[in-house]
């Protein structure tokens, strides 16, 4: 803001000087110039020694006075204040020692626990968000898997249809063959019937003929002929008997 004030105050006289003043004071503007993205927080705070004195003091004094420099400075200061009675030892000093001990002991004993508790609050927040994100990711992965499975199933549908088509064709074929069989059987039956009829006719004719012939023959045999034939038969039989007797004796 001061740079703007400077710029405005000098603007009337010389624009070149005002611009250079703004540029010069840019090095003093240490906060970030943009609002987003938010700069990340450092993981750890500034390093301190003995809980109070920043490490920068030790590093600042190290080139000139080495490691013991800051300690000598501190001791010297305290001794100076005490000896010149700039700091007077009174009852508050005793109380200061007392409360200092209590504070240091409290921080040393419970510091880590409190820090861990506070960190756990933050971690719970992160864990909740992470859990929500993870569950969502796993849900989506599962959905992808299911979709792929469905696509694979769809491929198999063709095979299913082929099999069904085959089935239907086989059924039709079977049905056709059955009907053909039936037709053949029926035709054969009819033809068999005709044949049987013809056989029957032939047989009847034959029997009729035989009966007629026999009747005629029997009616044509006179009694004289019958006696002659019977006598001849008896004579033939006697002859036969003699020949067999002779064969048997021989």
């Amino acid at each position: 803001m001061l740079s703007r004030l400077q710029a405005i105050s000098v603007k009337v006289t010389d624009p070149f000087v005002s611009l250079s003043l703004v540029q010069a004071s840019r090095s003093l503007q240490t906060s970030s110039q943009r609002l987003a993205p938010v700069p990340p927080l450092p993981d750890h705070g500034g390093k301190v020694r003995h809980g109070l004195i920043p490490e920068e003091l030790f590093e600042f004094l190290y080139p000139k006075t080495g490691v013991t420099g800051p300690y000598m400075l501190g001791t010297g200061l305290i001794v100076y204040l005490l000896s010149k009675e700039l700091y007077v030892i009174n009852h508050e000093t005793i109380y200061a020692i007392c409360i200092g001990t209590i504070i240091v002991y409290g921080v040393k004993k419970y510091g880590a626990t409190v820090a861990a508790f506070i960190d756990s609050i933050n971690e719970e927040k992160v864990a909740k968000a992470q859990a929500a994100k993870d569950s969502h990711i796993s849900f989506l992965t599962e959905a992808i898997e299911n979709e792929k499975k469905e696509q694979w199933r769809v491929e198999g549908r063709g095979m299913l249809f082929d099999a069904k088509r085959n089935n239907v064709a086989m059924l039709l074929e079977t049905n056709y063959r059955e009907r053909q069989h039936m037709v053949t059987n029926e035709v054969k039956r009819r033809l068999d019937y005709q044949i049987a009829l013809q056989h029957l006719n032939r047989r009847l004719q034959q029997e009729h003929m035989i009966n007629w012939v026999e009747k005629n023959v029997i009616s044509s045999i006179t009694p004289q002929q019958e006696k002659e034939s019977i006598a001849k038969c008896i004579a033939d039989l006697k002859v036969l008997a003699k020949t067999t007797q002779a064969k048997a004796a021989a």
Partner: protein
């Protein structure tokens, strides 16, 4: 500089410039304001956690119209707790050990609560002057007693805080003076007095936080009655 016993209760002045304003504003700069970040550093996280716990605990028994007082009472709690505990450090001035500040807070807040009650629900507020379940004969006496207790409340609130802190600080001063005086003459007794000083300092730390909480709790109770 040599200190008398009551130097700590004097309003601090440097070259006639009063520093009491700085002493009262101190709690404001000790607590960072919440940022727009989702995850904060430890101090801000702990501050947020503590405030949310304290506010939810104090305001859970109060009806919803009383929740408008949440900001006032929670900031009062932080204010008093910080000033009390900051006064435990040596060479500090505790503003809450002064009757002026405590009576100012107590009187104004108590009166606000009572006037709120009387304006929004006068019958209900006046009904508190007669406790439930009291025998009918005692009604006149009870009403007078309850009225007196109602008007004593701001004085009690302010004086309780002042007296606790002043007495504690004074005891610490006395004990540490005794320890210092006896350190050269009777070291063993000085050690015992030193142990007493330790315990007293612990007690004072507890009292500092408890008194701040009690102040705010009582105000929330008066609010609960009247809202």
């Amino acid at each position: 500089m040599t200190l008398s016993l009551f130097d700590q209760f004097l309003s601090p002045v440097v070259c006639w410039i009063p520093l009491v304003a700085i002493a009262i504003i101190l709690p404001w700069i000790l607590f960072p304001s919440p940022t727009t970040r989702w995850l904060n550093n430890r101090s801000l996280t702990s501050q947020n956690w503590f405030l949310s716990q304290a506010t939810s605990q104090i305001f859970s028994p109060i009806n919803p119209p009383g929740h408008k007082w949440a900001l006032l009472l929670s900031s009062l709690l932080i204010f008093l707790a910080t000033m009390n505990t900051a006064g435990l450090l040596p060479y500090t001035f505790t503003p809450t050990s002064q009757l002026s500040i405590n009576m100012g807070l107590a009187g104004a807040l108590w009166m606000g609560v009572v006037i709120l009650g009387m304006r929004t629900q006068p019958t209900h507020s006046l009904g508190h002057l007669l406790p439930e379940g009291a025998p009918a004969l005692l009604t006149p006496i009870l009403v007078i007693i309850e009225t007196i207790s109602l008007f004593i409340r701001p004085i009690a609130l302010g004086v309780r805080l002042t007296a606790n802190l002043t007495a504690g600080h004074l005891l610490i001063q006395l004990t540490s003076t005794a320890t210092l005086a006896m350190l050269t003459i009777m070291p063993v007794t000085a050690i015992f007095t030193g142990i007493l000083l330790f315990l007293l300092a612990l007690l004072e730390a507890a009292v500092a936080l408890i008194q701040a909480y009690v102040f705010v709790l009582l105000l929330s109770l008066y609010l609960q009655e009247n809202v």
